[in-house]
Symmetry: none
Subunit: 249 residues, 2 copies
Amino acid sequence: MGNGRQQHEEITAYLRSAISSHEFAPGDPLPSESELCQRFESSRGPVRQAMATLRSEGLISSGRGRRTIVLDTVPTQSFDGVISYSEWCRQSGFEAGQITQSVTRRPADPTLAAALEIEPRAPVVSIFRLRLLNGIPAMVERLNYPLEVGQHLLTFDTDSGSIYQHLIDSGVDINNATRTIDAIGADPDDAQLLGITEGAPLLRVRRRAFTSNGTPVESSDDRYLPGTASFTLNTIRGNPSPLSMVSAR
Amino acid sequence: MGNGRQQHEEITAYLRSAISSHEFAPGDPLPSESELCQRFESSRGPVRQAMATLRSEGLISSGRGRRTIVLDTVPTQSFDGVISYSEWCRQSGFEAGQITQSVTRRPADPTLAAALEIEPRAPVVSIFRLRLLNGIPAMVERLNYPLEVGQHLLTFDTDSGSIYQHLIDSGVDINNATRTIDAIGADPDDAQLLGITEGAPLLRVRRRAFTSNGTPVESSDDRYLPGTASFTLNTIRGNPSPLSMVSAR
DNA sequence: TAGTGGTCTAGACCACAGG
DNA sequence: CTGTGGTCTAGACCACTAC
């Protein structure tokens, strides 16, 4: 094998980079399995495992008798980009900005207490910011943390940068997150900050973040101006989508 | 094998149903691979393929030396549910309904032609329907197909049921789809059909569907009443999310 | 009909977790 | 240590596509 890498990983990495560099462009056929077997001095097993990986990532399409084809490149998002607006902007090549409206220590209302799995009226730290994209208002951000987590923010300059980064640096363990996406009309605060009329459409992303052992560390509500942000997802027949659409009714 | 099913499908189906019926409950170990080999009189290949399928669905967790474990059930959405409102309703336990507004054969405008990757003014079939959830207006659906695909719909009773099912039955190859989610204000048609005011927030899901070799077969625009539908996605640190948030600016 | 990818077999060795 | 799952080999047959 040469290095410590597994053979199928070797093959996956080669194909993935060749695809992303358009050495194999969308619509092109990939080398056949037998060619890859020869090139990597491997049996079919590792080659097929690599193919399965790429297929599950939505990069290729294959079928009986057909050559394996490169699909249009599918964008993915890193975990940091999922959880941090600042990081998302950085990755997208935009400049993030923030104008803090308030940082509050207060008792949790019943809904928030449930979302954070703490006692009602237990103390939480809430942050309310207008977020900018290249200097233009783009999103209204409401972040809520249990006191244990949020205490790190009471002395933090919330106009200075990424709260997520600060929490990580403070030793907070953030392992996974659930996002729920829907549409909502602007409330008076949203309307005033974003310069739109009350009731105008916003894209809402509610997020709950958890530690490795499942304790909630954040419950947030981000509202984007239409045109500022959208979500894109690729689904392949036979690969159930990790994004589920649910009805409230 | 008994029936015409592949062995790995047989094993996958058995395990999936045993898991969903809590015959193997979350936290329980699955039978070992060698047990399954014996039970299904199979070699390890098909057993491992079945395991890989369940792993990709987030149903099980496995690792070197460890027993394979049943995870807490993760909500996922089948490809059929992704692409078909009727199927999504069925899976969610709701009754889908539809009131067709129009079925049109017309030349594609430039935007639509680009989305379907056909010549501008090439003929397309467009369907415009109000969709119901348990009899109540829930979504406005605009479907567009290249003529080659859409011709199967010109003689189809679009008030009767699932267009997706009809296309599959007509031999159309639908292999993967890309969905883009954002928020938009209701246009006059939306407002009238859904009984809301113009400009009221709607959750828009635009979809492009493709054949196995990457040819677009559908370009659609669904607009949901808030509260009718939302999207939920789980992301784990270190696992890039297949859902990407992109900015239009 | 030649070549493709999908499936399957029957072995083998390894790293690792658990008793 | 035993047994597990992860990896790999070297064959084989089949269904299907493209020529």
